[in-house]
Amino acid sequence: MQWETVIGLEIHAQLATRSKIFSGASTAFGAEPNTQACNVDLGLPGVLPVLNREAVRMAVRFGVAIEAELGRRSVFARKNYFYPDLPKGYQISQFELPVVGRGQVEILQDDGTAKTIGVTRAHLEEDAGKSLHEDFHGLTGIDLNRAGTPLLEIVSEPDMRSAREAVAYARKIHQVVRYLGICDGNMQEGSFRMDANVSVRPYGDELGTRAELKNLNSFRFLEKAINFEVERQIDRLESGAEVVQETRLYDADKDETRSMRSKEEANDYRYFPDPDLLPVELDDSFIASAVKDMPELPDAKRQRFGQEYGLTAYDAQLLTGSEALADYFESAAREAGDPKLAANWTNGAVSAALNKGGLDITSSPVTASMLGVMLKRIVDGTISGKIAKQVFEGMWSGDGTADEVIEAKGLKQITDGGAIEKIVADVIAANPRQVENYLAAEAAKQQKMLGFFVGQVMKQSRGKANPRQVNELLTKKLRG
């Protein structure tokens, strides 16, 4: 039987506000436990939530970015369940009337074609606290600093058909929220969390029973967990068993998913409108002010890079991965006057060096303008592309600008015909047997044998001779 995978994602993006969604406590990460949990966050009796304008503004920006219908009137609801890191016994969320309605994003598939993924909705809600299950004399420790941090829960349609598509969609949402500046996207700190609803069905059939995968805190784990889960479900169905609707936890160490709780005993959340909060009404002026400084979004930037700079779709995709990287490329390209060269170096040497050093583009020791100047030296013939690698390494390890490194290490390309001619003459004089062989060989073979002499000349000039000139001179001298 041919099975088809069906995946929908729920993504929780922590909004980058200074204060919490319903209180004036700080949202800064990493504070001492419970020092940023005020009486509203603790759910003490008599307190009332007051909605943070910035959280609403950020949700609106997201809605506009994914071309969604905005909920002109949205309502907060209580989602009831019991867990010690949720002191009120309910989470304030949105249910029937979310702030962001139906929208969509486009992903690039492996074959380079685009696919549209529907976003069902995005709603505002408060985050819960953290439970620490290490042993406190048989008790559990609770830190409520995170309680009340604003979240935007982004729910997709079940439009993805493979783990790779799910990853492409998740990356796209990650990219959009970061471009918009509404979420820092830090997955280690839990600012961007993903749950996947996964089911399989015979091709074209009705939807199968789904399992919900939790605890996917990297794109790699998202892909691995889905692949494991698809295999598990197919194995069950093919052996005549059923798939149970349940929540499963991904264990990265064992690379497997395991059952957390089945839906039969799961909570009935008993949603109802929160009487402590009035409906939120978005008027035209609020929306206009929320979107007045919208940045150029990833898709538009990618297309512009293709048209304006003649880059391949692949290069443009990589360079628009983050706004900082795109800006880096553009300013290096402007300085160098050669966008394709700048694209190759940004995606090549710069990315490799950043990866190796575990650095972000914003902390690159070689700034965009430093790279641009170095590329200009390739364009104007001061150095060859090969020598540029040494110059780049020099700049990376703090030896100064391109011009300083070229000067200090004497890397300027030798274009002086007389100087090259002298080296060529020396090489010919020092290798009489090779010259003899060369002259005796057929024309077709000579071209190949020339490589030996070019190599010697480059070695003598320590790579600085202009290769084109070396070739010309050698051919002339050997034959003459």
């Binding site: 204060s19 700080s26 009486n39 603790l42 304008r53 867990y83 420790g141």
Partner: protein, 95 residues
């Protein structure tokens, strides 16, 4: 609509309330009466009436995104049954 004892037990579990076996029938009857009242309201034709989210016909006022709270952990934890290293301690949730 009438609830049976089993349903009342499930509702009690969701609400984390202990209802003794002796109380079950009486609670079932009370809850069923409430549901009957809801059923009466449910019978009213509400086509074209928007669900009410709040009895006040007003919109939510928004707060400026500013940190206004200071650390009052010691004050709050003075009434907590158990704390350690700044954490609130509660009975173990995961065994």
């Amino acid at each position: 609509m009438s609830l049976d004892r089993l349903e009342v037990e499930k509702i009690a579990h969701l609400a984390r309330m202990q209802v003794s076996g002796a109380e079950l029938d009486a609670v079932a009857e009370d809850l069923s009466d409430i549901l009957d009242l809801v059923a009466q309201m449910d019978a009213v034709d509400t086509a074209g009436v928007a669900p009410m989210a709040h009895p006040l016909h007003m919109a939510q006022r928004l707060r400026e995104d500013k940190v206004t709270e200071t650390d009052q952990r010691d004050h709050f934890q003075a009434i907590a049954p158990a704390t350690e290293n700044g954490l609130y301690l509660v009975p173990k949730v995961i065994g």
